[in-house]
Symmetry: C2
Subunit: 309 residues, 2 copies
DNA sequence: CTACTGCTAGACAACGTTGTCTCTCGATGT
DNA sequence: ACATCGAGAGACAACGTTGTCTAGCAGTAG
């Protein structure tokens, strides 16, 4: 900035004024300054600026996601990005990859980079490591040890709806496939108990098929795909019904099309971004949970007829 | 830092030493300092540190991708992330979304945040806007106006291989579907010309099918999926052959499985990260192009028998 | 017992920027 | 003609940190 001032023949402070778009500068001087800025390739030092400045905003939002490859995360990212960009800020994202240490490191990095706020799908056991002075919003999972707005799909209701859908199609031996505790599993249990049916819960489709179920309900996209493979390998894709939690691309092009409980990542992302901007603006309301409804999309695999045994 | 020094009863500089892990501090003092740091929730100011510091490294790599939703980008991101993390640095990524202005803004942001380097899939017409003092590596596309290492798939050879594969299966009316100029289209033309066949190039599968081709070669995943839909809609998925450029999840579960020319995003990401670290370390070799081979994966759609017409 | 060495810890300046204060100069009102 | 005012521009300090220099002190050799 010194060099710019020298080349433009003005004081340091005047350069600062021009760079910051203050109006109390003679247009002729301002032009000279801008010219010097361009010719020297001057770039303001964010750190120094932040150091001195009162308003600490950087226009940057940090996004921490556990899995970049998942279409759900990707859609969420895109929705958040759209909403944040619409408000003139930027999203920088980091890949946590289910590693608690990386969640901590990345959050720390964003904090040091003076992100205005964070949107996080928590993977660590507790989130108490987060910087207390940076607003955060959680999405897709609940956090622990750090009260903040949380955006969730209606996991329990969605799972219940999926199982009831299978029950309506006559299924009574419905297996749950998945490895996580949580609302989806709980929704399955609730629906099965309500109908007086025996619960069958397994970690993977191969194990589940040993129990001769007539229908499968899968906890997540990964498991759904594993189940499709297992059914195709056994040639049973038209004999055993399948409903998966979480939609995915090409689900409609498979044969049969895969019936899913679709989340709404666009609405979730938008809600998360909005909640975050409210916090950044100084909102101090009690932390709340925002629920985004799921939708059952019937495509065939969830409606295969039950075999007379 | 002042507060920490006061609480620990030491000087400012000693706190600095402890925070930076210098060894010339009495262990007892260091322990007092660390305790004070923890109890006050002190977080060093990156900006101020960078301001004073000689070594300007931040351990941060910026990644600019055009499309988060594409499995190729996601895989690339993951591979880069793995390689960068392995070297103790972090990746922060931004979604450019095919918008040249956002490419510029995000690159600018990363520059201001003192990223050590950038990995970019260029979308803008020219990359001359990039900060000259920050090493950059391009991946998946060539840049213009900014010489740097570039990692590319063997697009020309891959396309040629795909078309030759179809020719070997007896196809003579092979349509190219895609909208971009470039090496893939050029590879198609080369292979067709070499076999003395008539080129049919169209923007979308519906138009291409009007020409009654016996085989389709699609330029990218998006187009491949559109072609699958079109073929299924017309019930022709077993009569018209299809080879797509770029692999995608579930390609093997479709019926027929989709034959593709697979890129190797893992190798590409790793190569890009390695090239970048060489530049960061001060490598000044002539910019080079690193080619990563593609592989044809036969799954059925590219091998459907040609109908005796 | 003195001079020297080695090591720890503090004082001070400087990094690049901006908030505040002050100065200059021309315009306005009486 | 004189006092007053406002707008534009510069001087200066301060933000939080670290590189450099120096002071203090204990241990060691002569």
């Amino acid at each position: 900035m010194n060099d710019v001032a020298r080349q433009a023949g003005v004081s340091l402070k005047t350069v600062s004024r021009v760079v910051n778009g203050e109006t109390t500068v003679d247009p002729a001087l301002a032009a000279r300054v801008r010219e010097a800025v361009a010719s020297l390739g001057y770039r303001p030092n964010l750190g120094a600026s932040l150091l001195r400045r009162a308003d600490q905003r950087t226009g940057t939002i940090g996004l921490l996601l556990p899995d970049l490859v998942s279409p759900f995360s990707a859609a969420l990212h895109r929705a958040i990005d759209a909403e944040v960009t619409r408000r003139g800020a930027q999203v920088l994202s980091g890949n946590v990859g289910h590693d608690p240490a990386r969640e901590r490191d990345l959050a720390e990095t964003f904090a040091r980079q003076h992100a205005d706020g964070l949107i996080i799908t928590p993977v660590a056991a507790r989130q108490s490591h987060l910087a207390p002075d940076i607003p955060a919003v959680f999405v897709d999972r609940r956090a622990r040890g750090w009260p903040a707005d949380t955006v969730l799909a209606t996991n329990h209701a969605g799972a219940k709806q999926a199982v009831e859908h299978l029950q309506r199609h006559g299924h009574r031996r419905i297996a749950y496939i998945g490895t996580m505790p949580g609302a989806r599993r709980h929704g399955y249990r609730r629906a099965m108990a309500a109908a007086g049916l025996v619960k069958v819960e397994r970690n993977d489709p191969e194990q589940a098929l040993l129990e001769a179920p007539t229908a499968l309900f899968t906890e997540s996209r990964t498991v759904t795909v594993a189940a499709i493979r297992a059914l195709q390998a056994a040639g049973m894709q038209r004999r055993v019904a399948l409903v998966g939690f979480d939609d995915f691309p090409l689900a409609d092009l498979l044969d049969p099309g895969i019936t899913v409980v679709a989340q709404d990542p666009v609405a979730m992302g938008r809600a998360a971004a909005r909640a975050l901007f409210e916090r950044i603006a100084g909102g101090t309301a009690e932390p709340r949970v925002i629920s985004i409804p799921t939708t059952l999309i019937a495509r065939g695999s969830g409606e295969v007829a039950i075999r007379g045994s």
